[in-house]
Amino acid sequence: MRISVHISTMWLYTGRLFQRLNQRQYVLISKVSAHQVHSSSTGFTNSSYNGLYPGHIHTTPIQKLVLAVGSGVAALHDPHRHDMVAVLGEATGHLALINLRDKMRNDPEGYTILKERPRIRLSTLDLSEMTSLPDGSFGREYLRFLQDNDVTPDSRADVRFVDDEELAYVMQRYREVHDLLHTLLGMPTNMLGEVAVKWFEAAQTGLPMCAFGAVLGPLRLSTSRLKLLFTSLGPWALRNGHRANCVLSIFYERRWAQSIEDLRQELNIEPPPVIVRTAKKRNI
């Protein structure tokens, strides 16, 4: 059964490849992805490590249980402990990660990502090229999102407690795609925006950590924002999370020049019903 799946994906892949070769914009991006392939391969081989991948720490099931409970409590106690949210995701996400990985394998672009293992880092982004892209293009909007919300793609913690090398990459990819999701959904990084993205992610990925954040995040919202969440933002996020294609299967690094509306349509995501203003806008 697996061989036939492979053959069909190869067929789809060659078809897509032909389609892509006809579109000139991807040729420009190819040099970025080639650079990433190089950097990702060297990144994994230079340091010595015990475990399945650099940074991997072996944990028994009991340890995972204590980690899950402990990190959940710690994250509730101190919402600034983003590392605890990450650990919770790793300790509880095994089944969801398998599901995501299989979805990616069944998609030709997702399969390419699993093979090439791109990483989104500030060092791998060609910032000068991205700033020169037109407004409304995905790359330009992503840069704008990073600047407006004062975030960097390099702040994602490494995966440590996932006991499979490929699944660890899927987890890492999910973390790095999170900011891109913010851009796609048009949500800022304030509490309301984060909760909306969490609801989308919970519906999309099925990761228990997203469900945890989706349920407990609203507890910290003001009443007016809660109303906004439950009336329009929330249902929109859930609905789109369910119907959208797998967001991890998009090779975003090759799509910077693509228009954001186009990308949304491809992924089957409706534009946001409300514009959520970011609180911290830089006035420089």
């Binding site: 720490i57 340890q63 204590v66 980690l67 402990g70 409590v73 402990r81």
Partner: protein, 328 residues
């Protein structure tokens, strides 16, 4: 290159002194034996390139101090909380026992090496203060009905022999730990008789014969050259001074040992991750306990350094041992 050669010279001189002084019988045989390997150690030091353990990892000796520094820099903020959680508060009892065995008298000068967040020093100052109060009360009770002659005597001697104030010096190689300790002292309102010094246990920044009591609680296993730390302890103590070391040791009971090992390796790094956000540092701390010599061996090391009447007490079935020796 000046510093290492100086250190080497000092060690050779110290070794020759030690083996020239005829110690008490029983220790003499051992000191003669240690002359051999010690010189070998000196020479291979000149050659450089020796490795030691960092937990279960092997690292070059020069790297160990730096890595230990990083560990304690990372855990400094949550150090006290983690101690309470990991030992379920029992570490407080161990430290109280140390003070009880120490039984310091008012006027004692304490050097608390690897004192970090100040647990031992705070307890020391509280102990001597309460001792002082008790002495004052006893004196007051004994002179409830003084004669007029006694009263005039008391007034005249009041300003003369003020006893030397007890002093505690907290010495640690890590500035972050000292900062945390200083903040704690401020919040507890303890300041009189307390000082904070940055220093390396292997090369203390103090003159000879300065202190009555030298303590090192849960610190000596992190020192790269334990024998050097012991020799420095001997140097800075006054004759008659006491060396006291509280450290994790070998659990004698095999059932308890299994439970302790499981708890150490399974739970403690997880707790470190959840509370301090640092799995690796607590993995190191747990592994370093296993690499530290057990009770009898450490007792011999202390005797080798030149201490007398070396004894040890086991607490909690050998989880922690208190070693004590005197400089005579």
């Amino acid at each position: 290159m000046a510093a290492p050669t100086r250190l080497l010279l000092r060690r050779v001189i110290r070794l020759s002194h030690r083996c020239n002084n005829v110690p008490a019988a029983g220790v003499s045989a051992r000191s003669r034996c240690c002359w051999g390997p010690s010189t070998c150690r000196c020479f291979s030091d000149v050659a450089g390139d020796r490795s030691t353990h960092f937990g279960f990892e092997t690292v070059p000796e020069t790297e160990k101090a730096e890595r230990v520094y990083k560990v304690f820099k990372n855990v400094a903020q949550k150090y006290d909380t983690m101690n309470d959680v990991m030992s379920l508060g029992i570490h407080r009892l161990w430290k109280d026992m140390l003070l009880h065995v120490m039984h310091p008298q008012p006027g004692a000068q304490l050097l608390d090496v690897a004192g970090g967040t100040g647990d031992i020093s705070f307890r020391f100052l509280e102990y001597v203060h309460s001792q002082q109060e008790r002495q004052k009360r006893r004196m007051a009770r004994s002179v409830q009905t003084p004669s007029s002659q006694d009263i005039s005597n008391n007034y005249s001697t009041e300003h003369e022999d003020t006893p030397q104030e007890s002093r505690a010096v907290v010495c640690d190689i890590n500035k972050e730990m000292l900062n945390v300790g200083r903040k704690r002292a401020d919040s507890m309102g303890i300041s009189a008789g307390l000082s904070w010094v940055v220093g390396n246990a292997e090369e203390l920044p103090f003159d000879d014969d300065q202190f009555d009591i030298y303590t090192i609680a849960f610190g000596i296993r992190n020192v790269t050259h334990i024998d050097q730390a012991l020799q420095e302890a001997l140097r800075v103590l006054k004759p008659g001074g006491r060396f006291m070391c509280l450290e994790f040791s070998k659990v004698t009971n095999p059932v308890l040992a299994r439970m302790y090992d499981t708890y150490s390796f399974q739970m403690i790094p997880v707790l470190g991750e959840v509370i301090a956000g640092d799995w690796k540092s607590y993995q190191y701390l747990v592994e370093s306990i296993r690499k530290f010599p057990e009770q009898e061996e450490f007792k011999h090391m202390i005797e080798d350094a030149g201490f007398y009447c070396v004894k040890y007490h086991n607490f909690t079935g050998g989880v922690v041992a208190l070693h004590s020796g005197f400089k005579l």
